[in-house]
Symmetry: C2
């Protein structure tokens, strides 16, 4: 069978599996998830063996040290995967939850109930743990999954998928595409009759490719160009702590701070305090012209700096004359991910939170709290920068849709 | 300026307008909507004059009588448009509603609040009333709209949009694309930086075109291939009434019944009762082989009949041996729109409602109740056959997204 027919057949099988999954109770799903975790632990050796092949091939292909590190599994990482699957088992099941219920004047009783989406395609790159994470989240929510991982991790992914599939799940509930060429992405993206949703997990290039090919909805996890605005009414010591945390606590992640906006009225007092701490942490500052008049040691920022996700120890700083200027800058240059204001003025804070067009808007806390775990979701499949269906941290609930169930006693329209 | 630059400029303007709209209170939006309705009434003559040009051009181009009827406006239809806009003004505003709120152990207070989506593109065909309907629904929910109607209605659409824009809305909140060629659809579909969502309202061809071109999410309103399953435990008189209502009360709409599934155990008693009434209403029956043994007067159904939305006085009938066979047929051949079961057996009903993968699943009521009005939504922009973001009847709430607002006292992650 050619690649196209073979992937389409997996699609048909996924649709059938979704109907089987929809019949499982929460208890049945949880028991299977726990069995998956047990299989991962028991057969850890088979995964490590497969992973060794990927690592050897990666070294031969000259993958970077960082890439090899993302690819590498050890007993601890497999234990973390198993724990992750168990944590998903322990979470409340959104499927079957009643969202709303009401009765119409004609006696018809309508109920809006959360149900699985159906079939979900996950396209990802080199981290093999995504195979277990994504499959567990989709399984818990009653969705059949088609996984398409990167070529570097193919042996590891196959070994993990095989273990997950040996734990009693309905056949074809979790399928891994055995092809890793580009055509397989194009085939998946075209089969909207079999896949209800695609979630790409990876770099901008991968997401762009999927978006331009996909006929079905895609939930995107783009960059985080996150801002913090230090208002004239801010507690400046708090602002220093928050900016330092947001920039330096883990600079390589999407909710790290990239651009700091400071009200000119407090800049002369605030920037020196901040610079002392940031310099000690090795952060490079890139300032607008006004910033440079206060901090001559900063590098001049160019226009591109306002649109860059550094993911590094670099901070762009711009002075603004008002909250409105800060808001306009964020809405124009941000990636609508997570933006924060530091102020003791409640009115300014509320005005800012409402006007900033981002998934997460924060008052007096660090941007780094934009995270499914920190929100209490227990697990997340990613942080959506889309506005449709799911925005911000995506937990189990965002992997469901709903259905209207209406009951009556023979009511007719005519 | 060429078409592409010109439409991109409208996109930029829509984005700016969305930020203005987001600042309006519910009262301000409602006052503007009522002013729009007043303008439509006051300047009814200018719309009728523009419409006369479209009708004359349509007659010259040889449009069908049905097309000309969809296109034609008169005082009553403009009054209906104005009333529709007033009804939208009277509905509760979902924007600003708190969906959830909780506190984390670290003291951070998180709130999930409904906010406008931002900018919405509506691509539609010949009915000029869509201009007012869609613009009002989007305006009420704080979204800026870019409307692209069909060439047949261009004069009417322009006249209506001009009146809507003379009622005090922020500039560019409602924009009508002045081009009606295919390129304008392609340009809209490509500008995902300016449009957060596209909703095509029209036939399958239009939707398919938009889906294959669009880089942003599209909410689709495809066919309604709706089923009713008459279970062995059905009250057969009720089943006759429901099937007749669902098939004949308004056969040309998406929630009309197209295929009737009947349990073999009751078919011999049920089908003759049903056929008497349907024949009197002029309905043509197309039956499976087993049906023909009971109703020799039915035409034999071919395989295509199970996948056809007749929108006409034709009913396909198939006998099944179990609820599971009915469910499998619906999930395979239906369009996941609205499917009903008639039965006095509560267990069978609940099993069916859960297993059928459709936006609306009904027990002992006519399929014709699948409608935003009948659900009590007050107004609808359509009935989504998608599963992502909005499923089934789409009211005002489905034209919003949400934002997480989190507040603290200087919490840091590190």
């Amino acid at each position: 069978m050619d690649i196209e027919s073979s992937i389409h057949q997996m699609g048909r099988q996924a649709r059938e599996a979704a109907y089987q999954l929809n019949q499982l109770s929460t208890e049945e799903k949880n028991a299977i998830l726990r069995a998956m975790a047990a299989k991962l632990r028991e057969s850890c050796a088979s995964v490590l063996e497969a992973n060794a092949k990927d690592i050897a091939a990666g070294e031969e292909r000259g993958l970077s040290v960082a890439m090899l590190d993302r690819l590498r599994l050890d007993e601890d990482r497999i234990e973390a995967m198993a724990l992750g699957v168990e944590q998903v088992a322990a979470l409340p099941d959104p499927v079957g939850q009643r969202m709303e219920a009401w009765q119409r004047p004609n006696g018809i009783r309508i109920e809006q109930v959360r149900v699985p989406i159906g079939t979900i395609g996950i396209i990802y790159e080199s981290r093999p743990n995504v195979t277990a994470d994504a499959a567990a989240l989709c399984f818990k929510t009653g969705n059949a999954t088609i996984l398409r991982g990167g070529s570097e991790a193919i042996h590891s992914n196959r070994a993990i998928a095989e273990l997950l599939n040996s734990a009693g799940a309905p056949v074809h509930a979790i399928q891994l595409i055995p092809f890793t060429d580009r055509q397989s992405v194009a085939v998946m993206a075209g089969m909207d009759e079999w896949l209800d949703l695609i979630i790409p997990r990876g770099g901008k290039g991968l997401i762009e490719t999927v978006v331009s090919l996909a006929r079905m909805p895609v939930i995107k996890h783009y960059d985080g160009i996150c801002h913090m605005f230090v208002d004239r009414d801010a507690d400046l010591d708090m602002a220093v702590e928050l900016a330092v945390d947001a920039k330096t606590q883990k600079p390589g992640v999407c909710n790290a701070l990239e651009t700091l906006l400071v009200d000119v009225e407090v800049a002369a007092e605030f920037l020196p305090k901040l610079a002392v701490v940031l310099r000690a942490k090795g952060v490079e500052l890139r300032g607008c012209e006004q910033t440079l008049t206060i901090r001559a040691d900063a590098k001049p920022a160019i226009e591109d700096d306002w649109d860059t996700e550094y993911l590094d120890l670099i901070l762009a700083i711009k002075l603004v004359w008002s909250p409105d200027e800060a808001i306009a800058h964020i809405n124009r240059h941000g990636s609508h991910h997570t933006d924060a204001i530091v102020t003791a003025n409640e009115d300014t804070a509320e005005y800012f939170l409402k006007a900033v067009d981002s998934a997460c808007v924060f008052h007096n806390i660090s941007n780094r709290f934009a995270d499914g775990g920190e929100f209490g979701f227990g697990a997340e499949i990613g942080i959506s920068t889309d506005k449709i269906h799911a925005r911000g941290p995506m937990g189990l609930r965002e992997l469901t849709t709903y259905q209207y169930r209406a009951r009556g006693e023979g009511q007719t329209k005519g």
